[in-house]
Amino acid sequence: MEKNSNSPLVKKSSSIRPATKKNLITYAVVVAFFVLFQTLSATGNLKNAYKALLVPICIYVIMAVSLNLVVGVLGELSLGHAGFMCIGAYCGSFFSVLTKDIITVTWLRFTLAFVVAAVAAAIAGILIGIPVLRLKGDYLAIVTLAFGEIIKTVVNAIYIGKDSKGFHMAMSTAGLGMEPDGQVILNGPQGISGTPRNSTFVIGFILVMITLFIVTNLMDSRTGRAIMSIRDNRIAAESVGIDVTKYKLMVFTVSAAIAGCAGVLYSHNLATLTANTNNFGYNMSIMILVYVVLGGLGNIRGSIIAAALLYSLPELLRGVRDYRMLIYSLILIIMMIVNNGSFFVALREKLKFRLKNKKGAAAESKEAV
């Protein structure tokens, strides 16, 4: 993707590009985290309660990184990210339950489930991306929210079963009209049960690494720079010939596909998959947004650390749990005001100016000596 990397200009400088260095640190952080916890759990030093946190941490890290691609890199607020995760989770589980007896090789079935879910979520991303192209800002946020809620509602209202005659789809169990040998796979609000529990920390880690690889390479490519230019100034980007529509759609699709994979990881970590407000609704989308904002918009490493810490801390400190969301919401407000408030922006400018003056004065006095 990087055209310049082979040019003599770059080869001459012996040091690594700063962007590459930053990415390597990010990878190193993730690998170190993985090695630490994998050794701890392999040697039996990790309590079961902590072990149970490892896969969810991977899920939330993936979700946060993929949402950061939309919010931090593209600069559009998406409030329906959990909806893509929901699509991925349901499609992945549906596939796994369906092929449990046909494909007996676990890794093959699980990989295929990821592919199916990623494709399904990507299609949803394109479908959502098309109206999104016409909107900006607040409208876009609300449409993504609406899509997320639609997905959750529809998933809860549909029944799908399979019998000797093929698939049946209806709005109630009775409406399915199944043969006696039939099996209801998606059972409305009861969701999908019997998904093989294939998700492990190792698979989660691999998925995090793949996500990181995709997202960091995308950000450092020509495409990534085009996307960031849309964020910084859409009109200027359009005037230098950047196809805003194309890049927006692309980011939505990539982000949705990654979220779909996180969904598969989620659904294969549970015995029964159901959709409610807390796992696939608006609340979850906001929760992930909190991770992204607190980790730093556009900062991938920040998203990873924020998601891992903020998810596991309240689980570890039970007493804080009730106050968790209250504290998060306060931090969210304060961070936004400190970062963007006119008073604080002016204060920062003033400080910068003073610091510069002091440095200038110091340099002058040195010269005089």
């Binding site: 607040d138 608006y282 969301m325 209250l326 919401s329």
Partner: protein, 293 residues
């Protein structure tokens, strides 16, 4: 008969949406921001009434009045401390702050009142109306909701178009800078808008919880989002648009509940939003704005 009764309860639900949508649309018009916390102000209003009427055993009218005052102050406080510092900031920052405020209110209510659903006692004591030989029963709540909403909307319309502060509000929403040059106190006008919107939210909370008496910290979120859909439907920034959009949305929701599927009614409401934004992004009554470079 079924159609008629669905239609009437749809209009009643729609009037509540209209009251909430007015808050959204006025704030959007004047401050150019989406006040996500508006739905949660409704919930706070309902909890104030609940505390006043059930715990302190005050008459419902007093409870509603206390709630209106409380929410008005709350709305102005939120504006002063969370939104005012961000007047010049990018819309993404403001939107995230608004989400933060919304979450803050929800979790505050969660800590104070607990997560269990409370049974809200209706503030309305009007007897149901029986029409067509008892075939068509209109509940007291429905009648009061529709009457109260119509009164409020007429008052609001007169206030905005005829009174001096109302005209000043319109001027600020048209052009902040020019309004300031004409001697209008822009900050005071924005605060006034938040005050009116939040006061209306308290009324909406009372009516909503009288008609649907389950009260929990999450009560306000869904109606809030739907009312926003209504505001967009009618054309955001337009006061008559919010009224029409709210009533239409209430009717659509109730009819789809009655004739299509009660589970899918939420999905249908949101689908309406998406279709409106695709076909006519400015809504029914919205004005087309040209982007300045």
């Amino acid at each position: 008969m079924k159609f008629l009764s669905q239609l009437i309860s749809g209009i009643s639900l729609g009037s509540i949406y209209s009251l909430i949508a007015l808050g959204y649309t006025m704030v959007y018009g004047i401050a150019k921001m989406l006040n996500f916390a508006h739905g949660d102000v409704i919930m706070i209003g309902a909890f104030v009434i609940y505390t006043a009427c059930v715990t302190a055993d005050l008459p419902p009218v007093i409870g509603v009045l206390i709630a209106i005052v409380f929410c008005t102050v709350l709305g102005m406080t939120i504006e002063r401390f969370a939104y005012k510092p961000l007047r010049q900031a990018a819309s993404l920052a403001v939107l995230i702050t608004a989400i933060g405020v919304s979450y803050f209110l929800q979790n505050m209510a969660l800590l104070i009142f607990g997560s269990d659903t409370k049974q809200f006692s209706s503030v309305v004591s009007v007897k149901p109306l029986r029409l067509a030989g008892g075939n068509l029963i209109i509940s007291g709540e429905t009648i009061v909701t529709i009457i109260v909403s119509v009164i409020i909307m007429v008052c609001l319309y007169l206030f905005v178009n005829k009174s001096k502060p109302g005209k000043a509000m319109l001027a600020v929403s048209e052009d902040k800078g020019a309004a300031q040059l004409m001697g209008i106190n822009v900050n005071a006008m924005i605060a006034l808008t938040f005050a009116i919107g939040s006061g209306l939210a308290a009324v909406a909370g009372a009516l909503l919880c009288s008609a649907y008496p389950a009260l929990s910290p999450y009560t306000g979120a869904m109606p809030g989002i739907k009312a926003f859909v209504a505001a967009v439907f009618g054309g955001i920034g337009s006061i008559p648009g919010a009224m029409i959009g709210g009533i239409l949305l209430g009717v659509i929701e109730n009819l789809s509940k009655g004739y299509i599927s009660s589970q899918l009614s939420d999905a249908i409401v949101f689908a309406v939003l998406i279709i409106v934004l695709l076909v006519k992004p400015t809504g029914i009554m919205g004005k087309k704005l040209n982007e300045k470079v």
